[in-house]
């Protein structure tokens, strides 16, 4: 698993993104939401890196900042050696071919008024990737790759089921032969039986095309199944990072533990202690002082309410941000 000798495909250093929102009637107040706050990680080649956390923790924002669909406030994102945050529009467009995204919602991520063929052929036309006559062949190949028959090419998105649409979304992401795919809750909207089909497809493609994934999901079981390494986010910050076995079998951070314990395991013979969980996810507008998790933490100490814990690197690329370990 240790690939530290090789250069990572994606390196993210101290990524930060704050949103300003105005709210209120009659008096409006501006708030700063630290959606992503000083986040660093890397994704190795042919690796699926998971990003897990509850809604509003900023995991999707990280994914979009990596692609610069959202402009990060500070920090760098390197694709190999290229700093994406410093590219101009034109350079960005060509670099984006190496990084693509699969969205959560297979219903809204496809333009309802364009056929599958149009959706897939358009980027190739725009970027003049190949000869006009070849386009169709490439698309057909691609569709076969994602498990769709070429006959769907003239159909509209509404004629498809969710799973099929997600396959189209994947095909679109593969158009430019990318190296990195950001999968933003790519299977969350799908039914369980379809979920696995898509995950397997992604897995196969990874092998076949040497892809890497930044896999964003709230479903820990899916992350465990699909990823090699995973980072847990809480209110804009990483709380823990490590391999899936490390994180899910021996969680260090109390929040990771909480998450793990709260996820119901489909086995009635295992009794889970749901009763111990308390508190709500605080609003990202006003996160608690000190460690964001301390009001809900069973092991909170005095210092937890005062200082945010430093990120501590442990062995084998494992890291945690908790006063218990610093």
């Amino acid at each position: 698993m240790n690939t530290s000798t090789e250069q990572p495909l994606l390196t993210v250093n101290h990524l930060t993104k704050h949103f300003f929102i105005k709210r209120g009637f009659p008096k409006s107040v501006s708030y700063t939401v630290k959606a992503v706050d000083d986040v660093s990680f890397h994704v190795n080649r042919k690796e699926a890196f998971g990003l897990a956390g509850e809604s509003g923790c900023g995991k999707s924002t990280v994914g979009r900042c990596v692609l610069r669909l959202i402009e990060p406030d500070s920090g760098q994102v390197f694709l190999q050696e290229k700093d994406i945050t410093s590219l101009n529009d034109q350079e960005l467009r060509s670099t984006r071919k190496k990084m693509q995204i699969i969205f959560q919602d297979p219903y809204s991520s496809l333009n309802p008024r364009r056929t599958i063929g149009q959706t897939l052929e358009e980027p190739m036309r725009v970027h003049k990737l190949c000869d006009h006559d070849e386009i169709r062949n490439i698309v057909v190949d691609l569709l076969e790759n994602v498990g769709l028959s070429p006959g769907v090419i003239d159909k509209y998105p509404h004629e498809f089921s969710g799973g099929q649409r997600q396959r189209v979304g994947i095909a679109r992401a593969l158009l430019f032969n990318p190296e990195l795919i950001v999968a933003d809750e790519a299977v969350s909207a799908l039914d369980v039986s379809i979920q696995m089909q898509i995950l397997q497809l992604l897995q196969d493609l990874k092998e076949k095309l040497s892809l890497s994934y930044l896999f964003i999901s709230h479903d820990l079981a899916v992350v465990r199944y699909f990823c090699q390494r995973v980072a847990i986010m809480y209110l804009g910050k990483f709380v823990e990072l490590g391999t899936v076995t490390q994180i899910f079998d021996e969680p260090l951070h109390p929040y990771t533990l909480t998450l793990r314990n709260a996820s119901p395991i489909p086995d009635p013979s295992i009794k889970q202690a749901f009763a111990q969980l308390k508190g709500e996810v605080p609003s990202p507008i006003s996160p608690p002082q000190g460690c964001h998790f301390h009001p809900r933490c069973a092991k909170a100490k005095d210092i937890c309410s005062r200082e945010y814990p430093k990120w501590t690197e442990l062995d084998q690329g494992r890291g945690v941000a908790c006063h218990l370990y610093s």
């Binding site: 509850e54 809604s55 089921s161 799973g163 099929q164 039914d191 369980v192 039986s193 379809i194 979920q195 696995m196 089909q197 995950l199 397997q200 709230h218 820990l220 079981a221 899916v222 465990r224 199944y225 076995t245 899910f248 909480t258 998450l259 793990r260 314990n261 709260a262 996820s263 119901p264 395991i265 489909p266 086995d267 009635p268 013979s269 295992i270 889970q272 749901f274 009763a275 969980l277 308390k278 709500e280 996810v281 609003s283």
Partner: protein
């Protein structure tokens, strides 16, 4: 009374462009007092439609109940006068919905929405209704109910709103609660709290519950018995331990094999191939036929019945191979 609810051969149809189509066919199940039945299935399998049919909440236009009966404490919900059903609804039989934020009226205070249920069913004054609402809010562990009473839904988090919904559904001490994916829209830590709360309340209140969900993990922790639905049919129903330990229907088996688990390395996961047939294109025979592992041993044209297996009246399966 042996059963609090006894549903027989319920079929509900919807109107599409090209005619009426059945969303659920031949739904039969029973519910004992103080029992939780989990109805599990993928989206579109008809689990919510069943609950709405029983609650009388189907849209007035474009839907109809084709056949069946549903005895609630001995009275048929499907044929009783509307006004009588309305009086049962919200008092003896209530429902919790999936989206707590949109299911609460944005322009009314949450407290008044709870009190309203009390006021219209329990024949008490406004002050008493308010008092009862505060009690209920306390019961569902809303901190500082006195102040929260006058909050509007948008002031509260999703978890809190769901607690309000639960309080509302328990206002008149119902005998039966339908919970339609009550935790799906919530974060996993909040979901766990909610599962625990429902469990606790059920112990306290002595009620039966139909818990609709697509999450087998949740099922494992809330249900006494499970009904698995597929494409508008119940395909298997069994006590929860039996179902997980010894699934008999090929769909149940495949489903259990296809879900990743957090506590294990998922080496042996196998997805179910193929797709659910669409409502306007249902096969004549077994609806799972095209995706079934053992379809070579089966015939496509015969529609299987829901029958006890191994002579166990608590474990029913709809499968030709098991008959």
């Amino acid at each position: 009374m042996k059963y609090i609810l006894e549903v027989k051969n319920l079929s509900t149809a919807f109107k599409l462009q090209s005619g009426w189509y059945r969303a659920t066919t031949d739904i039969s199940f029973v519910l004992k007092p103080n029992e939780t039945l989990a109805v599990v299935g993928e989206s579109g399998c008809g689990k919510s439609v069943t609950a709405f049919s029983l609650m009388g909440l189907l849209p007035e236009h474009g839907s109809r109940i084709d056949s069946g009966s549903a005895l609630f404490k001995g009275e048929d919900l499907l044929t009783m006068p509307k006004e009588k059903l309305r009086k049962i609804r919200g008092s003896a039989m209530t429902m919790i919905f999936q989206e707590p934020m949109t299911s609460l009226n944005p322009v009314l205070t949450v407290g008044s929405q709870i009190a309203e249920a009390v006021f219209y069913h329990m024949n008490v004054g406004k002050a008493a209704a308010r008092k009862r609402a505060l009690e209920l809010m306390d019961m569902v562990k809303i901190p500082d109910p006195g102040n929260r009473y006058n909050d509007y839904p948008h002031h509260l988090s999703g978890g809190m709103c769901q607690r309000i919904m639960i309080a509302m559904s328990l206002a008149c001490e119902p005998d039966l609660v339908f919970a339609d994916e009550p935790t799906t829209a919530l974060d996993v830590t909040i979901q766990a709290q909610m599962i625990y709360l429902l469990h606790e309340l059920k112990e306290k209140q002595q009620m039966s519950m139909v818990f609709i969900t697509h999450d087998l993990g949740v099922v494992a922790h809330v249900a006494d018995r499970v009904a698995v639905m597929y494409a508008g049919n119940i395909v298997e129903t069994a006590p929860v331990a039996d179902l997980f330990a010894d699934p008999r229907h090929p769909y149940t088996k495949a489903l259990l094999k296809s879900i990743p688990r957090l506590d294990k390395d998922n080496k042996d996961i196998l997805p179910i191939q193929g797709m659910v047939p669409s409502i306007d294109n249902m096969p004549e025979g077994c609806r799972f036929y095209s995706r079934c592992e053992k379809k070579e041993q089966c015939r496509p044209d015969k529609f299987p019945q829901l029958l006890p297996i191994d002579n166990n009246p608590n474990h029913l399966v709809r499968c030709l191979l098991c008959e």
